[in-house]
């Protein structure tokens, strides 16, 4: 019952209608408590929306419920009986099914074949007619319009999602978990999904709907539970919820003890170091990700970029670095129009990046520490047949040890032998050691514990005080408030608002992040 001491109102649901209850769920990862004494009530025939920023612990909780992870402590009760869920198979046995963001379908198979694969007791000879009948029945009942004979690759994303639902229903699921189901859908498809929620609900199914889009939650949920920093911060009935209430539940309040850093005054130069004007670019799937993105950074300034991830932050950074081609607009850096320049040339000009996923995007596992430090070397005079400048790489190691107090292992150790956190540190330090004029820092403290995060922020501030500009993309608003000189909010591939973190209204930022608009009152300048 310790959970009930948490901040906002915790409403106890009517136990009679509780279908599944999670109680006191705790899950500790190295350096991170992903779930801290979390309790959740799922009612029969109701839609429960689970809200929260990325990293709030929603996915971990759902993976525990679905048996992909095991909780360190806590209980799961189904229909009043405590169940021991050790694997997804156990979860399915208990009537819990999940629709993942990436579908588990085989494109070259037909709908029937895909559904057959998911069924438990599949004989040697598949009774296709029987399965097909089942699919048709469900399809008619819920108005899916799915042709069982169609091949999955022929079907649009929305229809594929319906196949996932059919799989769960035929597998006997009573609770359907949807992990950000609308992120892959077009708006009209999302509308369709909510209609499906309605009919599932009226047929007695329970639904957990994970999202961070407020309008969607408000339009389809019965109960709303909000998580932040691994805890449930509140539970509210749809009837009592408004956008403003939800925003403050998700974002919390600006912490009063937000740390003040030593800041050198900004140089009075009036010329921005980087100016992005109205760029458009596609994402990896070929959809428009940046719709006229505009921003500018002054030398020696930390610009914080707030926003729910997936709103074009990644694409903006990639466009700046020359990794992602832009369709229109211009990028001016340090007096050069770098639009269309090669990645190496832009790097040489003085842009470094701490990538979102340093292990995948910034390090080579099979190589040594020294070789990894040499990555992205910007010596433009060296020819390919010339020897590598290992001295420079080693000097970088020395610089890192001296400046960041980071004691390096033997430089000939392959980084496979290091922990993920340490590889992350090395990538971070290497990019800082590049002494670039502009540093792009993506989620620099994600996955680190509080102390390490504080060290990283201090280093970034020191770096800024030496005159470098830093663009920090983060979902931790407290962090952005404490380190930024200026903040912008990104929504749907655009810069939707700018503020001074000193006197910003956190609720307004929350509205900008989730809605792209200011709420009732006009914006502060």
């Amino acid at each position: 019952m310790a959970a009930l001491t948490n901040e906002t109102t915790t409403k106890t649901a009517d136990p009679a209608s509780d279908f599944i209850v999670l109680e006191g769920i705790t899950k500790q990862f190295p350096g991170l408590r992903a779930n801290d004494n979390v309790s959740l009530h799922i009612r029969k025939g109701k839609v429960l929306a689970l809200l929260g920023e990325n990293g709030a612990g929603k996915s971990t909780l759902m993976k525990i419920l679905y048996g992909s992870y095991r909780a360190d402590s806590g209980t799961i009760t189904v229909d009043g009986k405590i169940v021991n869920i050790q694997s997804p198979a156990d979860a399915r046995e208990a009537g819990i099914g999940m629709v993942f963001q990436s579908f588990m379908l085989i494109p070259a198979f037909t709908v029937v074949e895909n559904v057959a694969l998911s069924l438990k007791h599949l004989g040697v000879v598949i009774d296709k007619a029987e399965i097909e009948k089942g699919i048709r029945e469900i399809s008619e009942k819920y108005n899916f319009g799915i042709d069982p004979e169609a091949y999955v690759w022929q079907l649009p994303i929305g229809a594929q999602q319906k196949i996932e639902i059919i799989k769960l229903l035929m597998g006997g699921a009573k609770l359907l978990i949807f992990d950000e189901p609308t992120s892959v859908l077009a708006p009209h498809e999302a509308e369709g999904l909510f209609k499906i929620f309605d009919s599932l609900r009226s047929n007695g199914y329970s639904i957990i709907f994970i999202s961070h889009k407020l309008n969607e939650v408000l339009s389809c949920a019965d109960d709303i539970t909000v998580m932040r920093h691994g805890r449930v911060t509140g539970h509210i009935d749809r009837a009592d919820a408004t956008e403003s209430i939800l925003v403050s539940m998700i974002i919390g309040t600006k912490s009063a003890d937000s740390k003040e850093y030593v800041r050198k005054p900004l140089p009075t130069s009036s010329k921005p170091l980087l100016e992005i004007k109205d760029i458009t670019a596609l994402d990896d799937r070929g959809r428009m990700a940046l719709h006229g993105m505009t921003l500018s950074i002054m030398p020696g300034e930390i610009l914080g970029v707030a926003g729910v991830s997936g709103n074009g932050q990644k694409e903006t950074g990639e466009a700046i670095q020359g990794i992602r081609p832009t369709k229109s607009g211009s990028i001016i850096f340090d007096g050069h129009d770098i639009t269309g320049w090669s990645i190496a040339r832009i790097r040489r000009l003085g842009i470094a990046c701490i990538p979102e996923d340093p292990l995948k995007q910034g390090a080579v596992r099979s190589m040594t520490v020294e070789e990894n430090l040499a990555l992205g070397d910007t010596d433009e005079n060296a020819r390919d047949w010339q020897p590598m400048d290992w001295k420079a790489a080693r000097a970088k190691a020395g610089f890192i040890t001296e400046r960041f107090n980071l004691k390096m292992p033997r430089l000939t150790v392959p980084i496979e032998a290091l922990s993920g956190g340490n590889v992350q540190r090395i990538v971070f330090a290497r990019e800082m050691a590049a002494k670039a004029k502009l540093l792009l820092a993506y989620y620099p403290t994600r996955g680190t514990d509080i102390n390490a995060a504080e060290i990283i922020r201090t280093i970034l501030l020191n770096y800024r005080n030496e005159g470098a500009a830093i663009l920090v993309v983060s979902e931790d608003l407290d962090e952005l408030f404490s380190i930024s000189d200026r903040m912008i909010v990104m929504f749907h591939g655009q810069n939707v608002g700018e503020c001074d973190p000193k006197n910003a209204d956190i609720n307004q930022i929350g509205h900008l992040m989730t809605d792209g608009k200011y709420s009732e009152q006009p914006a502060h300048a």
């Binding site: 670095q321 090669s342 992205g376 910007t378 107090n405 032998a417």
Partner: protein, 374 residues
Amino acid sequence: MATNADITPPAAEPIVTPPAVVIQPVEGGGSQLSKTLNGIGSFAGALLLALIGFGIILLLMGKNPLEIYAQIFEGTLGSTYGWSEIVVKMTPFILCALAVAIPARLGLINVGGEGQIYIGAVFASLVALTLGDVLPTIALIPLLVIAGCLGGALWGGLAGLLKAYAGLNETISSLLLTYVGSLIVDFLASGPLKDRSTAALGQSYSKTFPDNVQLPTFFDTRINLGIIFALIAVGLYYWLFKYTRWGYKMRVVGGNPEAALRSGIKINRYIIGAMMLGGAMAGLAGMIEVVAIQGRLRGGISNGYGYVGFLVAWLAMQKPGRIILMAALLGLIAFGGDTIQIEGNLPAASVNILMAFILFFVLRNQGLRAAKES
């Protein structure tokens, strides 16, 4: 200055040095020596298993395996001639192994060494047939080397180009280009370059190359300058990947293409470059084969060298020293095949089974080790 005053907080604390963080490897791992000994031990074990496996096949064929092994041993290592023939066979094996190993460092699988040999041989033959009468040997050799490398590089580079700009899988395209390469040789040998003299009636091969077209031989054997070229190539391979920026960047591409791209490495350039360089190695082998061994261009010159080179490269795990050792081992087995054909009355191809067994057991060891580590 009013604006600056807004930004500057009260000068409370000085710039802080972060507390020390020590980065330590997660596991110690054994010493280098014990690793090497383990490697040798596991290879010897694999070899033994392969010999036993092949022995069972020999028994089924009604032969005494011990006798056959003795024949192979005697025929190869028991005479100077045997030793020299192993070296002769090693030459194309080493070069074709490099043709596989260089692209493999980028994660590319070049199975087209065979085709690259053919095109290298064609280019070398064109030089030999047009300039062979005009130039002295000493001037021809560099030209032949360049021609052979160029031909192979063209064929390998073609697969690289298709990979880089059309997304075509290099394994498939290089394999298919092999057939094209071998058919080009057949066409030239039975068409434009065919020897029209009466002695060659009904044969499909080119005129014999002029006398000037030759590689010097050593010790009165068939060992020729080719083995020197092959060893130099191994040395260059080592140097390239160990010391140059080119090699470093290629290893980055092989290790993590996404990190390579983001750090500004032009991946496509290195994909094409590695395929060209690999192809050049096989092309060089093709040149050596037509100039030093065949003395003319004809179909079927390669004898599967490209594929054996593939075995060598994988058995050696792309390591330069091991490539030489493995080429010697497979050279021995290949020549041993010739021996048992004559003495043991077995088809020469039966030793391919032995080669396959060795690869199988070595890869099995590597797989087991990888499984143990993870």
